[in-house]
């Protein structure tokens, strides 16, 4: 076969598929959000934004991302540097640390429910050590802080592994010579981390953060399992519009809002961690 046509034949299926199921639906969702009957309208957005829960929904989602992502970044960096120093047992530790990578967000929510529910393990422990006389109902409206904590812990538990794997791969690409040179000049481990690892890890940090932040805005099943309606988030409300209220227009408007926030976050991260042109490892 002709070597000039062949590559196009090979990429044609993916291109067609993504046009049909990626680009076209985005056009559709925008269309759905901005039309009412025949004409252009902002009614869907007005409806969504004027709903009394909306500001809580938006704040909750952003707050959760702001609380969870920095902790995960720190944990992932710590774990990644520890892994690269590890000799014996590296494979086992790495397997254990990456287990959550394969676990569904719904399953993660259920796992933390086992700890936080009323007859759960946290209550059992608290009563066992005498901190409580009888099991308390932890995940209720009165304990908004605890609901937030449970959701945040489940999110940190579930999604740190993704950042870890990207960062470990990134650290593996940094040439050993830089560290050897730093060693010669007597730089401490901390200085090596700060002046070699972190700057050279920028591309990986970028991808890890973008992926993770977008996932944080999509948080849905963990919240459904742990907080339910106690802690409304954007994705959960979108689902409610689509399924419980059967309001496609409003659901589409919510989708566009999530999309807008995600794109804004991506651009900010790309800007903040931009890699200078031509600088490669």
């Amino acid at each position: 076969m002709n070597a000039r046509i062949l590559p196009y034949l090979l990429i044609a299926p993916v291109t067609l598929f993504l046009c049909l199921f990626f680009l076209y639906p985005f056009f559709l969702v925008a269309h759905q959000a901005f039309t009412e009957g025949m004409g252009f309208t902002l009614d869907n957005f007005r409806e969504v934004a004027s709903y009394w829960k909306f500001s809580a929904t938006l704040t909750n989602t952003l707050l959760l991302a702001a609380a969870v992502v920095p902790i995960q970044l720190a944990m992932a960096l710590l774990m990644a540097t520890m892994i690269t120093r590890m000799g014996k047992g590296r494979d086992l530790v790495l397997y254990i640390w990456t287990i959550p990578l394969g676990i569904s967000d719904l399953a993660a929510g259920i796992i933390w429910l086992a700890i936080f529910e009323q007859s759960g393990f946290l209550n059992s422990m608290m009563v066992g050590i005498g901190a409580l006389d009888k099991p308390a109902n932890l995940l209720t409206y009165q304990n908004a802080g605890l609901v937030f904590l449970a959701i945040a812990l489940a999110e940190i538990w579930r999604a740190t592994a993704i950042m870890l794997v990207i960062l470990v791969a990134g650290i593996g690409l940094i040439p050993k010579e830089y560290y050897e040179a730093a060693e010669v000049f007597g730089a401490s481990k901390w200085k090596q981390f700060w002046w070699i690892t972190l700057p050279l890890l920028r591309p990986s940090l970028q991808t890890a953060l973008i992926l993770r932040v977008i996932m944080a805005f999509e948080v849905f099943a963990v919240v459904a399992a742990l907080g339910g309606t106690l802690f409304p988030v954007l994705m959960g409300e979108t689902y409610a519009y689509q399924f419980d209220l059967l309001n496609n227009g409003a659901a589409a408007a919510m989708a566009l809002i999530i999309l807008g926030i995600s794109i804004a976050a991506t651009l900010i991260i790309l800007r903040a961690l931009s890699v200078p042109k031509g600088a490669t490892i």
Binding site: L94, F220, A224, F243
Partner: protein, 277 residues
């Protein structure tokens, strides 16, 4: 003077212990919550609902039996497996050729094509289920396994392309060229030389596509009504289901994922690390 000289080894040993303690602690952070789920799933319904909880499982299959007998669960399990298998087949069948093209050819539009692939990563893809729900009703794909598998393939496809790209790039083109000079066509050179070499990697990325579909909640919940997948079924019954049903369901969701991650652990970095660059 002596103390000053003795300090560094001491400090180093203390640092070493701290290091090991941190590793153990972080392992426990991952494993203990999982263990607690297993304790619940492997205990009888009475034990799960009683208080206080024992820290050890009874190894009673009561909860899991109740789960298996719960109306609609086995169908949901079957649907999950069908959708995940379809996703696996489609994402490899469509994605691998593109990965090959990216690694072997220079062609106009290559940069644009890569951008299209990478762009999918910066979007919250499960949201696509919303407009597709409408489109599927028009085309008769609503509430079908294949319809949901299309959406899950969109999630898995970028990975499939980038992973196979890095796999193919790891195989020198000289091997293929040698096969051509020995009378192979481009196609037979591929099937006889390249394919056997990358088959383990392809399998790993297929498993990965399976897990992506198996775990997905939002699109599954939006696009299925009667033919719910396991995640969608559990989500729908979160408010009403007995608590031991949730834990048994969580257990069934987690176990295949554990096995899959173990099976593909060698390829994790190719998948997440290199595929993300």
């Amino acid at each position: 003077m002596n103390t000053v000289e003795a300090l560094p080894p001491n400090a180093r040993r203390a640092g070493h212990y701290l290091y090991i303690a941190t590793v153990v602690l972080l392992c426990a952070w991952v494993l203990v919550p999982l263990y607690l789920l297993f304790v619940n799933a492997l205990s009888s319904a009475e034990a799960v609902n009683s208080f206080p909880k024992s820290a050890f499982p009874e190894f009673d299959l009561g909860s899991l039996k109740f789960f298996a007998g719960f109306y609609g669960i086995l169908d949901a399990l079957k649907n999950s497996i069908i959708v995940a298998t379809l996703t696996m087949i489609m994402s490899i069948a469509i994605g691998a050729p593109a990965g090959y093209a990216l690694s072997r050819f220079e062609f106009r539009g290559k940069a644009t094509f890569r951008l299209l692939i990478l762009m999918t990563r910066a979007f919250p893809l499960p949201l696509l289920a919303l407009p597709l729900a409408v489109m599927f009703i028009r085309t008769g794909l609503d509430d079908t396994a294949i319809g949901l598998a299309f959406v899950h393939t969109t999630l898995a496809l970028p990975f499939a392309v980038l992973i196979t790209f890095s796999l193919f790039s790891g195989i020198p083109i000289e091997l293929e060229e040698a096969a051509w000079t020995l009378g192979c066509t481009r196609f037979t050179a591929f099937t006889k030389v390249v394919l056997p070499l990358i088959l383990p990697g392809i399998t790993a990325s297929a498993i990965f596509a399976f897990v992506i579909s198996w775990n997905e909640v939002f699109a599954a919940a939006v696009l299925t009504i009667e033919n719910r997948t396991l995640t969608a079924f559990l989500l729908q019954n979160l408010d009403t289901a007995a608590i031991h049903l949730k834990f048994a369901g969580g257990f069934i969701l987690v176990v295949p994922a554990l096995i899959f991650i173990f099976a593909v652990r060698k390829y994790l970095f190719a998948m997440w690390g290199i595929a993300n660059r």
